[in-house]
Amino acid sequence: MTMRADAGTLSPEEAIRLISAVAKGRDRAAFAALFGFYAPRLKAFMMRSGMTASAAEDVAQETMLLVWKKASYFDPRRAGVSTWIFTIARNVRIDRLRRESRPATVARAFDPSDEVDGPVSGEAAVMTAEREERVRSAIAMLSSEQAQILRLSFFGDKPQSEIAGELGIPLGTVKSRVRLALGRLRLILDDLK
């Protein structure tokens, strides 16, 4: 199996099509396409949150394995594919951090919130797609400084003190900037509704 060369973009609609191909037909080519796009981004995401390259690659692999196993749980009414995969990776990462601090732990592969609950209505899926689009526009509307602080605080484990060091500003300033950035995000999101 070879990796697709054109893994630079993947539209939300195409991603949904690929996931359902994996869910319904156990389609390996569709999975390879998802892998080609998401695995390198998952790895980058994890590295940004402070993991070594090899740990980040492990999390990417683990996440993609769950994407294969749980594709039938994907529900376009709840989230877009990127968001869904992000939440899986987030949970893999949480489990991994817990295992590191307590080796005997049994991995909890999934949140109960990932359970499917009934047939997909087209309308709800459209609303979800709209929400995701709204969030993307909202991020684009933040000032570059606000977007940066949001990104930094999103990439997980990095304590705010470290972010403060990185940006060369006091800790209290980081806290208030995060608060301000979130306040602005909330305003924009509610405005776009």
């Binding site: 199996m1 990796m3 893994a7 390996r28 390879a32 892998f35 080609g36 796009f37 998401y38 695995a39 390198p40 981004r41 998952l42 790895k43 980058a44 995401f45 390259a53 690659e57 990417a60 692999q61 394995l65 294969w68 196993k69 989230a79 877009g80 594919v81 990127s82 968001t83 869904w84 995969i85 992000f86 939440t87 990776a89 987030r90 949970n91 990462r93 949480i94 489990d95 817990r98 601090s101 307590r102 049994v106 909890r108 109960p112 929400r131 995701e132 709204r134 969030v135 993307r136 991020i139 949001l150 990104r151 605080s153 999103f154 990439f155 997980g156 995060v178 979130l182 306040g183 999101l189």
Partner: protein, 216 residues
């Protein structure tokens, strides 16, 4: 429902950086609050947008092949089914929210006149500081401060302090700047799910909680 987690807390819940104790308490709140659930979906979508927009890092050359080999090996084996033993759950007299389904629930223990607590154990993280608190009607909790944030979700009854009244479904998020002395309403006992941020602070918190009763 009047009191909700702050946006920062919901953001940390969505990004995965909230500790497991606070995470479970906020999870109980979100399970019963559509507004906060919607907010979390938005913040998770921020994660999705950051993920799809990030500059990719090349995976190891044979990464996909190795993963496919794992998938094939996996479908041969008869399921992973690592059945976890069900945690022990004492009957605490109320129906507990679904978000606590996998947790162990200890029996009520007396820690002072009109105040009982029960330890809640999270299977994935036994060191998390989570507890149920049951406080009798009209009872005043000793004034306390804490070094980390304290998250309290009301399951039954209500209490109030200088900041307002907290009823079923409300979440009280009290940071280290807040010094409060919650009083339970006269109408009945109050049961809360509470978690403290930080690992070793349970003792300190309970120390302060119990101290006035034991006359220390």
């Amino acid at each position: 429902m009047k009191h909700h987690p702050s946006d920062e807390t919901l953001f940390r819940f969505a990004s995965g950086s909230l500790e497991s104790g606070p995470r479970i308490v906020v999870g109980v709140h979100v399970g019963g609050c559509t507004a906060c659930a919607a907010r979390i979906s938005e913040f998770e979508a921020v994660g999705g947008a950051l993920l799809s927009g990030i500059e990719p890092e090349e995976m190891g050359e044979d990464a996909l092949d190795r993963l496919v080999a794992r998938i094939e090996a996996d479908s041969d084996s008869s399921g992973e089914a690592a059945l976890r033993s069900r945690p022990t759950r004492a009957d605490v007299g109320i129906r507990l929210p679904e978000a606590l389904d996998g947790c162990g629930i200890g029996p009520w223990r007396w820690i002072g006149p009109g105040v009982r607590w029960s330890r809640v154990t999270i299977p994935e993280d036994a060191s998390a500081n989570v507890m149920l608190l049951k406080v009798a009607a009209g009872r005043r909790l000793p004034e306390h401060t804490h070094s980390g944030c304290e998250y309290t979700q009301v399951l039954k009854g209500s209490f109030y302090d200088a900041r307002g009244r907290y009823g079923p479904g409300d979440l009280d998020e009290a940071d280290d700047e807040i010094q409060h002395q919650p009083v339970v309403d006269e109408t009945g006992e109050c049961i809360c799910l509470a978690a403290l941020e930080g690992r070793m602070r349970l003792r300190g918190f309970f120390g302060r909680l119990v101290q006035p009763f034991i006359g220390g």
